[in-house]
């Protein structure tokens, strides 16, 4: 793994407001890096600065060892991306749009256009005009364009917009393949946390322009809870809940539904819990550790303003 994208102390001001405030992070080859944050956190602004739409007020962006501000053309040579809702030229077909893009790059061989069209599943619709495409189809063509010149850094801002569930799964598989098999550095920003949980290797969380933390996703999911939490499946979770509250305190029990509850205890106390319930006549079907979701982690971090570093 090598560093493909380095962002150092990046700051972007809009008037007096810092949309991005001394943000620093790296994206490595062979990983999918998730860039998370609530609306208005500064994700898209940061991506726009990286890709040259906006100029930074402070800091620098280095892609493949080349400073974007100092040598724009060389820096952008191996980068592909989708930013916000990109549009192609509506009067031209998908294929024509790709041909135009390929013309600008040095290294797009013949046949590559067909290849990327197959990757995104647009080979049968490529000769229709863009204005006839649905949102999802336009998104696919934009992805095809981003992949055309085999970039080693792919930056995707909300790439799942407009895609159906099958399309989202396809995209996830494509990005994971690119990262893990073809060693591409992939940076994705999205609000679809469930997807990010399935797709990303590492995440960076941003809020109010500041990076709150960057770490592998597994670590993030386990880091936010103090005690372990166990999921118990029983025949009468309400009655169980009353019994457990009496022994362990009301704050440690959370009723899920008629058959399930969650109990916050240490691992050593699990056997005692099982004995208590069985001695009182309750049937226990399952006891397993309950993992935090990325959503829980995300809300707890960005809502509380806590850093996870």
């Amino acid at each position: 793994m090598s560093v493909v994208l380095e962002v150092k102390g990046l700051t972007k001001m809009f008037g007096k407001r810092a949309a991005v405030n001394k943000a620093s992070f790296e994206v490595n080859s062979g990983e999918v890096f998730g860039f998370l944050g609530p609306n208005g956190a500064g994700k898209t602004t940061a991506i726009k600065v990286i890709m040259g739409f906006l100029s930074p007020d402070e800091g620098e962006v280095i892609i493949n060892g080349t400073n974007v501000q100092k040598n724009y053309e060389a820096a952008m040579e191996n980068i592909g991306g989708i930013v916000e809702n990109p549009e192609m030229y509506r009067e031209l077909s998908g294929r024509k749009n790709l041909e135009m893009y390929a013309r600008i790059h040095n290294n797009v061989p013949k046949g590559r256009i067909e290849e990327v069209l197959r990757i995104v599943g647009m080979e049968n619709r490529a000769d229709e005009k863009i204005k006839k495409y649905s949102l999802g189809m336009r998104q696919r063509i934009c992805l095809a364009q981003a992949l055309l010149h085999r970039p080693n850094l792919l930056i995707l801002d909300e790439p799942t917009n407009g895609l159906d569930p099958a399309g989202i799964k396809e995209l996830r598989d494509i990005l994971k393949h690119l990262a893990h098999e073809e060693n591409v550095a992939v940076m994705v920003s999205s609000h679809m946390l469930a997807e990010m949980e399935l797709m990303c290797d590492r995440v960076g969380i941003i809020n109010n322009g500041k990076i709150l933390g960057i770490m592998p996703i597994d670590e993030l999911l386990h880091k936010t809870s103090g005690d372990s939490c166990y999921h118990i499946k029983t025949n009468d979770s309400a009655a169980c809940s009353e019994l457990l509250e009496a022994s362990y305190g009301s704050g440690s029990v959370k009723l899920i539904d008629g058959n399930s509850l969650e109990l916050s205890v240490s691992e050593a106390e699990v056997p005692s819990v099982v004995r208590l319930l069985t001695e009182n006549g309750f049937d226990i079907f399952n006891v397993s550790p309950a993992e935090n979701s990325l959503e829980d982690a995300f809300i707890s971090i960005t809502g509380g303003g806590n850093s996870i570093a």
């Binding site: 726009k48 890709m51 040259g52 739409f53 906006l54 100029s55 724009y72 053309e73 060389a74 820096a75 952008m76 040579e77 980068i79 592909g80 991306g81 930013v83 916000e84 809702n85 990109p86 549009e87 192609m88 030229y89 509506r90 009067e91 031209l92 024509k96 135009m100 893009y101 013309r103 600008i104 790059h105 040095n106 934009c142 364009q145």
Partner: protein, 523 residues
């Protein structure tokens, strides 16, 4: 360079994939054909001839007019008979003589199957009208002498001045009988050559002019005969040219500017001398070589110019739409993003867009040229395709018609380039397509009104540095066209100044646009 060319190629694909581009080009071509047909059908270039007119109606009108004149004659006779004061009587007899002469002239015309009032319809240089007028002048003198002979005798003896005056009148009248007969013969035979000869004789007998002045007038007369041997073409343009030749020669003779609207109390400057020599050379060459279109009867602008100007409007509109939307439209739709994330610097993107708009505009201009030439050839024939005659240091030269027309369009293209840069500058600065397209189109179509207002400004410096006065360089590159020479526009600001001004103006707009596009964030 490779990337710049690739971007240029892409921009051309985008432009020519737009339906609006082709629609405007097709409408432009159709307008040329349509205009050519309309101008041909409405006969704007047709030479009016007597055969076209309703001669019988004019003859009837003439008959009625003669009756009216005879009634006037009777009344005037009555007044004259009743007048006792010699001076007043002479005046009354003079009026009567004039009326009698008019009656004579009209009756003469009627007897020879002509309607004098019909000739007045084409009265610009109609020699027959002149003959009739001369006839009236001479006959009225004759009639006056006959009517007032007793009165003259009575007054002569007591008045030596009158005696001297009457003597010269008598001599004049004797000579007039010969002239009257000659004019009548010219009218009957429609002998234009004889008319010119008579006119030349009269010029040479005029003792108030110098020999050189007389030679100039006679030279002009001979040019009239040469360009129109029968005197029936009524070519006002030829007449104007001949008059200009006369004025130019006189100007050089007297060292005073008779040609342009100038102070005639000061001697010619060296520049004016050269301008007048050039004007003389151009007009003389044109007349002597017979380089006059069969179709020069219309206004200042001939049909080809009308077609060309209207065609150019389409080119301008197309160019403004493309240039005005080049940046702002892409920002609005978001398609600029794929350009920005390409590995190309922004100035190359801008340059490619500018070059593609200029190329498209040039392409449209070329189509305009071909379609207007083809239309002119089909509808007006080769007679309308006269070369452009110009002069350098008093020596006349000729430029092939097709080369001239093409060059004219290319000079017009300078305006197109300036407006393109204006639109692109607005497109990058305002990022508003409506403003970027509407503003340059508005300025272009209201330029003649704006320029008219500048003529009200007395400060020459303000006018000199006003952008619009330095555009429209056709008259400066080709100052020997009718329009340019007629209004002397070519004299106002030099071509060199205007070219430098336009270059500087374009450079400023280019730098502003590039700087805005390069440095501003694309949010």
């Amino acid at each position: 360079m490779r990337k710049l060319f690739a971007l240029f190629h892409n921009e051309l694909i985008k432009i020519f994939s737009k339906t609006a581009t082709w629609i405007l080009i097709i409408i432009m071509v159709v307008s040329q054909i349509g205009l050519g047909a309309i101008l041909k059908l409405t006969g704007i270039n047709d030479v009016p001839s007597f055969a076209d007119s309703e001669t019988s109606d004019y003859m009837k009108e003439q008959e009625e007019y003669i009756k009216t004149l005879k009634e006037d004659e009777n009344k005037q006779q009555y007044v004259a008979d009743g007048e006792t004061d010699p001076v007043k009587k002479l005046e009354a007899l003079n009026d009567l003589a004039q009326t009698k002469a008019e009656i004579y002239a009209y009756e003469f015309a009627a007897k020879n199957g002509m309607a004098r009032n019909q000739l007045q319809m084409y009265s610009y240089d109609n020699y027959l009208m002149t003959c009739f007028d001369k006839l009236v002048e001479l006959k009225s003198g004759e009639y006056l002498y006959d009517l007032a002979s007793d009165l003259i005798k009575d007054t002569v003896n007591g008045n030596p001045l009158m005696k001297a005056g009457i003597g010269s009148i008598i001599n004049l009248i004797t000579g007039n009988k010969t002239r009257i007969a000659a004019y009548e013969e010219i009218i009957i035979n429609k002998d234009y050559k004889k008319f010119i000869q008579m006119s030349n004789d009269e010029i040479y007998s005029d003792k108030s002019k110098t020999k050189d002045e007389k030679d100039i007038e006679v030279y002009c007369n001979n040019l009239r005969l040469k360009s129109d041997p029968t005197g029936s073409e009524n070519n006002w343009k030829a007449e104007e040219m001949i008059q200009n030749i006369g004025k130019a020669k006189l100007s050089l003779l007297h060292n005073v500017n008779y040609v342009f609207d100038a102070n005639q109390n000061v001697p010619l400057t060296e520049d004016e001398k050269i301008q007048i020599k050039n004007l003389l050379a151009v007009n003389t060459y044109t007349m002597e070589q017979g380089i006059l279109s069969d179709y020069d009867q219309a206004d200042n602008m001939d049909s080809l110019s009308i077609m060309s100007n209207i065609g150019m409007m389409f080119v301008i509109v197309l160019t403004m739409i493309l240039a005005g939307g080049s940046i702002s439209q892409e920002i609005a739709t978001g398609s600029i993003k794929s350009l920005i994330i390409s590995p190309v610097k922004r100035w190359k993107i801008f340059t490619a867009k500018l070059l593609s708009v200029i190329f498209t505009s040039f392409f449209a201009t070329l189509i305009l040229y071909i379609s207007s030439m083809a239309t002119a050839l089909i509808f007006f024939g080769k007679g309308a395709m006269i070369p452009y005659v110009f002069a350098v240091n008093g020596v006349a030269k000729e430029l092939n018609f097709f080369v001239y027309r093409f060059s004219l369009l290319m000079v017009g293209f300078i305006d197109v380039f300036a407006y393109t840069l204006f639109a692109m500058m607005l497109s990058t600065v305002t990022r508003n397509t409506a403003v970027s397209v509407a503003a340059p189109i508005g300025v272009y179509f209201s330029s003649s009104i704006i320029l008219a207002f500048t003529k009200l400004i007395s400060n020459d410096l303000i006018v000199k540095f006003f952008p619009l006065t330095n555009l429209g360089l056709e008259d400066k590159f080709f100052p020997f066209t009718d329009y340019a020479m007629l209004y002397g526009e070519c004299l106002k600001h030099s071509l060199r100044f205007s070219l430098i001004y336009v270059c500087v103006m374009c450079l400023c707009m280019l730098v502003t646009a590039l700087d805005s596009f390069n440095r501003r964030d694309l949010n």
